[in-house]
């Protein structure tokens, strides 16, 4: 089956920032966490998928189609939550839904009503008077109510309370369970992805560092800690990033077997890397 989302050599140039040669794909029925520090290019990827920005070069396919030529068909199958859900402030959530509804061919009003109740949305209140978390919930209800095949969520958990955050993550796992829909989840809160992401795509400085299954990531990436004395030119070359303190160094590598072999017998500790470790240590050279 075709992947629901496929980027091949996608490049986007802005003044002062470029997303370069990014390639990854997301099969149906999975959650992909898009991680990276602020300014890495996550939101740019989201914008390219939603057609808010234009690809400079490369190929982007959503649901098997090119969004540039099948714009409406593609967007009809995407649900989105932007980083800061913005709409006209003087309109109620109820009215907002009535405006959005006719654009979608598979809008499900009973589902939207049920989601609004479940999320405890004050549907008659003006959008502008809602907290950021409640705005996100409203945007999420709109995104889910038209049976989207691809959910594109840009930092959706920022501003959410821990209880709803957990519920949201569980909901997303359930959403993809039938194998028909997928979720692209951009975040820098990596703990959101530890349990629910099937794939992890890591972007840094506009470049793809890796895109793999979560198992592969946790199998391959390890953190090595030890006395700075063991660091020499050869051991440094093992690491994708290394931080040296007064009494210890921390190195990150995606080749755990080689690190174990190379540093066997030395006074070091090798631990599985967390996504936070990968984000923090990649590229560090001090």
């Amino acid at each position: 089956m075709d992947p629901i989302l496929e980027l091949r050599g996608v490049t986007k140039h802005y003044e002062g920032f470029s997303l370069r040669d990014v390639s990854f794909s997301l099969p149906r029925g999975y959650v992909c966490g898009l991680i990276g520090p602020n300014g890495a290019g996550k939101t740019t990827i989201v914008k390219l998928i939603l057609g808010l920005a234009h690809v400079s070069s490369g190929q982007l396919r959503v649901c098997g189609e090119d969004p540039a030529t099948a714009e409406i068909a593609v967007k009809d199958r995407i649900g989105f939550v932007h980083e800061v859900p913005s709409f006209y402030d003087h309109i109620s959530v109820e009215a907002l839904a009535s405006i959005v509804r006719p654009f979608y061919s598979r809008w499900d009003q009973p589902l939207f009503d049920a989601l609004a109740r479940e999320f405890e949305l004050p549907t008659r209140k003006w959008f502008g008077s809602l907290s950021r978390g409640t705005r996100t919930k409203a945007a999420l209800a709109l995104a889910l109510a038209h049976h989207a095949e691809l959910l594109v969520l840009d930092e959706p958990t920022s501003g959410l309370d821990p209880v709803f955050r957990r519920e949201l993550l569980e909901r997303l796992v359930a959403y993809v369970a039938d194998g028909q829909a997928s979720v692209l989840f951009s975040t820098h809160i990596t703990s959101d992805l530890d349990r629910m992401a099937d794939y992890i795509t890591f972007i840094r400085d506009g470049r793809l560092v890796f895109s793999s299954t979560r198992e592969e990531v946790f199998d391959r990436w390890v953190v090595v800690r030890g006395d700075p004395g063991v660091l020499d030119e050869a051991t440094r070359s093992l690491f994708a990033g290394v931080e040296v303190g007064a009494h210890a160094f921390t190195g990150l590598t995606d080749d755990a077997p080689r690190a174990r072999k190379h540093m066997a017998g030395r006074d070091i500790v090798i631990e599985p890397a967390t996504l936070d470790d990968i984000m923090c240590y990649t590229g560090r050279t001090c």
Partner: protein, 224 residues
């Protein structure tokens, strides 16, 4: 899809469009003045169309452009809807003034006169000019662009007025305003004959079409 986009613009901006109410209060007052009715009706359509044209600028201000562009609708359709909304609002404001002329007991303006072909064509020409000029500016430069554009017009107008007052006949300003006035009068009287009607219709249609093409081009190439 155009219908949905049109509905969206009207629903989202209905509240803002009430901002034209003070104009109608002034119109109600002016209806007792001989000949004021016709001018206020044409002005109402002009102002209404102008206000509706700035919808995109408000979307910029509220940062909703990205949300709207993420919906399954082409940007071309969103632009189309804005042109249609501008004409609809212009027409509605004109009809409101015509209704006021008919019902206000102190009105000296006969409502039927507002539906003379010449007056309607002049209104359509002026409203179309406003829409055609402003829409690409709104789409390209957003709220700031509109403010600068309209502000610059105001400043230039004030400067020219002051210059005309101080330097009277020596100033080119008087000539400038005189030319505009004579142009509008000539246009108005010309719109009673078939030839000028066709010429004006062609020029206005071409201007609006070019403006629309430019607006679509600007909207489609813009990264949000």
């Amino acid at each position: 899809m155009l219908r949905n986009a049109l509905r969206k613009d009207l629903l989202l901006n209905a509240r803002h469009l009430w901002g034209i109410l003070p104009w109608f209060v002034w119109v109600a007052y002016a209806m007792s003045e001989p000949d004021a009715g016709r001018i206020t009706a044409v002005g109402a359509a002009f102002v209404g169309a102008l206000m509706a044209t700035t919808i995109a600028a408000r979307e910029d201000k509220l940062r909703t452009s990205a949300t709207l562009a993420s919906l399954p609708v082409r940007r071309r359709t969103l632009v189309q809807a804005r042109y249609v909304v501008s004409y609809v609002v212009g027409a509605v404001t004109y009809l409101v003034v015509a209704a006021m002329a008919a019902v206000l007991p102190w009105s000296v303006q006969r409502a039927a006169e507002l539906f003379e072909v010449k007056t309607l064509l002049l209104t359509a020409t002026l409203a179309s000019t406003a829409i055609a000029l402003l829409m690409p500016v709104v789409l390209r430069f957003g709220l700031l662009g509109v403010l600068v554009f309209l502000g610059a017009f105001q400043v230039v107008g004030v400067v020219l007025f002051v210059a005309a007052d101080f330097f009277a006949a020596r100033s080119g300003a008087r000539l400038f305003f005189g030319t505009i006035e004579r142009g509008v009068v000539a246009l108005y009287s010309g719109l009673g004959q078939a030839g000028p009607i066709v010429e004006t219709a062609l020029i206005v249609s071409l201007s609006v079409w070019l403006s629309f093409r430019l607006s679509v081009f600007l909207a489609e190439r813009r990264d949000l």
